[in-house]
Amino acid sequence: MTTTTTTEVIASSSGSWRAVRAFFRNPAAVLATAFLVFVTIVALTAPLIYPEDPLSMVARPFLWPGQNPKFLLGSDSLGRDVAAGLVWGSRISLVIGIAAMALGVTIGIVVGATAGYFGGRIDDALVRLVEIFQTTPSFLMLVVLVAIAEPRVESITVGIALVTWPTIARLVRAEFRSLREKDFVTAARGLGYGHLRIIFIEILPNALPPIIVTSSVIVASAILMESALSFMGLGDPNRISWGSMIGASRETLRTAWYLTAIPGIAIVLTVLALNMIGDALNDALNPRLSGER
């Protein structure tokens, strides 16, 4: 017992490290993470790569990709640089995707935890509220919300959060309902812990794995929703986004298909990467599937 063997180190490290290792053993997860890191770096450095406004007309219209080395991905019907649009558009997609997820998950956790932990009438009332949101077609509601408010990044973010929180709320409620019956929660009550402490410090950490998995999928669907809104011309008119690039070029689909294909591929790859990360997280955070413990 004088030397610490590798197995002992593994056994003594906490469960979260085990999950991180399991996650990065999955090649799809590594690839998806690398892609998202790349997109994030591009988004952060957009003002350095393309200092000019991506909405300004800088070239002859309908330059095909490769035609002019100054405009690598060509130009659109108004002579705007497609590459600059793609780079700046990633900012909107990521900002709205992540901010809407953060807001939606926060609302979902608060509502779901309250309903699941307290049960009874509070639960009944909150479940009704969730059902009202879930029985309304969510994209229609989003369109209405954004149409009522000004189409700005902030209002779109809030709108997407308002249509996604019920998914998280249902998930969190189910987790809390099963966890609150565990003896360690009874013990916490017996030790005189307050409700807030039991909800956020005792129960929530145990409910996190499925929330994390769903969150990555929610980022993906938020990006899709923003693209769809921009495609329909309901996005922020002062910001370029992947969706608005597709929307602006849909009339020239037959003559200049690359104008829709390029931002389309960007959306597909980003959403795919997020979904792959969601799957990998699900495997990594579920000890029974990852074959350890």
Partner: protein, 319 residues
């Protein structure tokens, strides 16, 4: 004055199938420094009784007096001092510890929540407690899943005792453990009692464990106490036919004949039999038993039983 005095406690649950009477009129006392054993089959309401005493389940009616104070109707925000003085040890050491917290956090949080000591004082107290519980100091930085069942139960005991309680309700604390570990944990509980002058309400379905542990034994059947006696007295002179059957069910190599098992299953607490609740399974039941619910009656010094034919071994002739 007893430390804990429970009077006519009822705990009923509303279920879709009707009213479930888990605890149906129980009175008991636990004196300072006493170990009271509570024995009964699974589903007789003993766990619910333990939780109702600690206000982990809200009693339907009746009273729970703790050191002269009525705690069953205290508002939730006034329970703090009671929580410090009355604690619980759980049956399942795998679900009773939060898997996401280190042992240090599990033991420090109760002190923090009750505002006991400053940071430095807590840093001194927690290691002392874990060592008393028989675990090495290196345990503190580890998570519950790194420990065996017996070790986890030691952590559960340390957590229950860190607030310095006077009453500890032990809800089957050893029944989930291997036999060899059971003895260690029971010894630890006895040691802790000596050290801190604790009083125990010790719940178990295992008479041999109760026999080792308790000064006084209560036998529970279907939400009621049916017999109550000092340990030695109960083993020597069981008065209730149910108690007798329980004692005979302990395997004993010295006894030639096979023990006669109690027939049938415990009745449903949703549909408690009329009259004596034990009569459908009782070997000596007569017609009175199907009509009149027997009260707990004294039969000599500190020995009570709820049976019309207490102490009789065979069915008496019908009157």
């Amino acid at each position: 004055m007893p430390l804990l005095s429970v009077v006519d406690l009822h705990t009923h649950f509303r279920t879709p199938e009707g009213e479930l009477r888990a605890v149906d009129g129980v009175s008991l006392t636990v004196d300072k420094g006493e170990s009271v054993g509570l024995v009964g089959e699974s589903g007789c309401g003993k766990s619910t009784l333990g939780k109702a005493v600690l206000r982990l389940v809200q009693p339907t009616s009746g009273s729970v007096g703790f050191d002269g104070e009525e705690v069953s109707r205290l508002p939730a925000d006034a329970l703090g001092p009671f929580r410090r003085r009355a604690q619980m040890i759980f049956q399942d050491p795998f679900s009773s510890l939060n898997p996401r917290h280190t042992i240090e956090r599990i033991l420090t949080a109760p002190l923090y929540v009750h505002g006991i000591g400053d940071r430095a004082e807590r840093k001194r107290r927690v290691p002392r407690m874990i060592e008393q519980g028989g675990l090495p100091l290196s345990s503190l930085s580890r998570y519950p899943h790194e420990f065996s069942g017996g070790q986890r139960q030691r952590i559960g005991i340390a957590r229950a005792l860190i607030l310095g309680p006077e009453l500890v309700v032990c809800d089957e604390p050893v029944s989930a453990l291997d036999l060899s570990i059971q003895a260690q944990i029971l010894n630890l509980l006895v040691e802790m009692k000596r050290e801190y002058g604790l009083s125990y309400l010790f719940i178990s379905h295992d008479l041999s464990v109760i026999r080792y542990f308790a000064n006084r034994v209560l036998v529970m059947y279907l939400g009621r106490i049916v017999e109550s006696a000092a340990g030695a007295d109960l083993w020597a002179r069981p008065l209730h036919p149910y108690t007798r059957a329980l004692i005979q069910a302990i395997p004993d190599p010295a006894r030639r004949r096979q023990a006669a098992p109690i027939g049938g299953d415990i009745a449903s607490p949703l549909d408690i039999p009329k009259g004596c609740r034990f009569h459908p399974r009782c070997p000596i039941a007569t017609s009175i038993c199907t009509k009149v619910d027997p009260a707990l009656v004294r039969h000599g010094d500190g020995h009570e039983a709820a049976c019309h034919h207490a102490g009789q071994l065979t069915r008496p002739p019908e009157a």
